[in-house]
Symmetry: C3
Subunit: 263 residues, 3 copies
């Protein structure tokens, strides 16, 4: 059997000794752990961004992997640190809702524990760096095979992050941009099914700008053309072929996107 895998997702930055410290703590407890960086560039304290990121990354991993998430504006307060089993995946995350979009489309309710056993934490626990002193330490112990019941207590309520508004009407769907990727592509919360088919009448506007064409993939458009398409995550996406839609439109997360159907 392959050695256990622990992934790390934080807002600590790629230049941070904090990430390195977490890796050291994990390897100190379980030298066989295989570390996989997901990203350390979540925007600082941006729980919604982390939630989107996790919902679009974690489901692709196999069940045995343990995901450690430290985007944690509430560090050092009474907010809980949770072990979550959801849709066959396992995470350690602060109780700020960052994992709750993983429940979407999952029939079985999540099994959630609050970490309550300080004997698996580093001593003393810093008030500002639970990533090192609680998350990393507990993750390493779990990767050694320790049962969840030994590190925490079941809980039945937790912080849930509400989804962005989406209004569906017969002639119109209104949503918002929920993520801007590295290419400046604007991902919306509008399901791909709402996208007017190429050739089919319809209009997409984003932050007041009309989007001319609807395409299947970037390269179908002229370089520089603003287009709408179905993103790889299944939602309406606004993009510029070989360009940056976010920069072109000056639009970001939260901007309104409307699809109108003409008959």
């Amino acid at each position: 059997m392959a050695d256990p895998i622990i992934t790390l997702t934080t807002d600590f930055g790629d230049d941070s000794p904090y990430v390195a410290a977490m890796k050291g703590v994990i390897l100190g407890i379980n030298p066989a752990a295989r570390l996989v960086d997901l990203s350390h560039r979540m925007p600082p304290q941006d729980v919604r961004h982390a939630a989107y990121f996790l919902a679009n990354a974690i489901p692709y991993f196999p069940p045995a992997v343990l995901h450690v998430v430290v985007v944690d504006p509430g560090v050092g307060t009474e907010r809980a640190v949770l072990h979550v089993a959801v849709g066959g995946r396992r995470l350690l995350a602060p109780d700020n809702g960052c994992w709750t979009w993983l429940t979407q489309g999952v029939a079985q309710p999540p099994t959630v524990h609050r970490l309550t056993q300080p004997r698996y934490w580093r001593e003393p626990v810093s008030a500002t760096f639970h990533g090192r002193d609680i998350f990393a330490s507990v993750a390493a112990h779990l990767s050694l095979g320790l049962p969840v019941a030994d590190v925490g207590t079941p809980v039945s309520s937790w912080v849930v992050l509400v989804r962005e508004p989406l209004v569906v009407q017969p002639d119109r769907v209104a949503g918002v941009i929920v993520f801007v990727d590295h290419f400046g592509n604007l991902i919306t919360n509008i399901p791909g099914e709402a996208l007017p088919r190429p050739g089919r009448p319809g209009h997409v506007t984003v932050a007041g700008h009309a989007v001319r064409g609807c395409v299947r993939t970037y390269a179908e458009a002229e370089p520089g053309a603003l287009v709408a398409l179905v993103s790889s995550c299944g939602h309406l996406e606004i993009a510029v072929n070989q360009g940056n839609a976010a920069r072109l439109l000056g639009a970001g997360v939260g901007a309104e996107v409307v699809v109108k159907f003409t008959r």
Copy 2:
């Protein structure tokens, strides 16, 4: 025998859920795969940059490693996805020429397959994210020992990326900057042998600026001095000791560099 290694090179950015999704897909198919990030910061859709990067990175790896490259402006079109064996190295890359500079100095012609077997792809294949649905999935299957012949069909032609212009004359060599590294060092396509030896008459100009000295290593120059030297990849490099030549000269990829020999 050590577990198989798969490296990843993309233009997705370090903040991207797309990289994480690829890692998840790979580990889902081959949990024993060892993932090595080369870089996820190729400039978006910059195939020439990726080509330079690969030519200066891949040859250092041992043959058993499989390199996955996703800098892919043509994603979703009819452009092929290739498996390439070149100089004892193996890559999965889009057919946009990004791997073709690896043939330099290699006597044996590359062996190239086009991926044609959708049974090793994720279903359904997104039109905008072949990195996840084709590259990652096929790479993982190959890392399990699947023969290349099972995933694709041999091809005998492919996109070749032309090299930058280099003019060699008895008293003069003219080339261009082909890469700017993180330190702002300007790497040219002029072979190191063309560099005037320290003490030997000669002039180097870059983007119209005269470079005073020729040195063997950075620290031989005064801090802040602009110098020419032979880079670690064997080419003429323009650098500023403890400084940033690109910023100082306002010069980047494509700027002309001329070496003149006086007698």
Copy 3:
């Protein structure tokens, strides 16, 4: 026994083929080596930054790990490349003092070797890229079990990096900012014990700005409030809850921080 771990810390940048080349060289010599990136974003040639980073990262790792550090403005000169055993940790680092803060609080003196055996280096050694040709190559050989005595010669003196000034008086402690993290938190060289306790009279000023409150953790302050607290590394830290203290104050490394006690 788990396969040997080699960590990498450089100033090469995340976009660099130089990091990839080092990884290739290591895996070419020891295909079983497990590579762990600490960070490739040390500011270029910033030895003090690297020293701080290492002092706050390396101690968390278990002893068996080999740490490779390439922040090396003196590359290609006669500066030595060192193998250092300090406090039960092992590093390869240039002789520029970057590792010397790891001696703090360690009773036993470090054991230091200068790398002197070119038979474990790549041939020819580039004058500008010892990271690839010496550090990576020697690290890989050491990870195969080669004794240090085979790669170098014991030395008894090395470059030591002096610590920043710290003045402790009965009614006042004066220090400086030594690190700015990704969140813009300002970490000082003033021991946490010098921090006025919440409710206890005392004043903290940083770069001329008065810091109002002293807290235990970020979230105890109002969002946007400037506060002093004990950092996770045990030193006085100036932070803004959910904000960026460095940006707010325009203060960075070297700025003066004073704690005054009123009676």
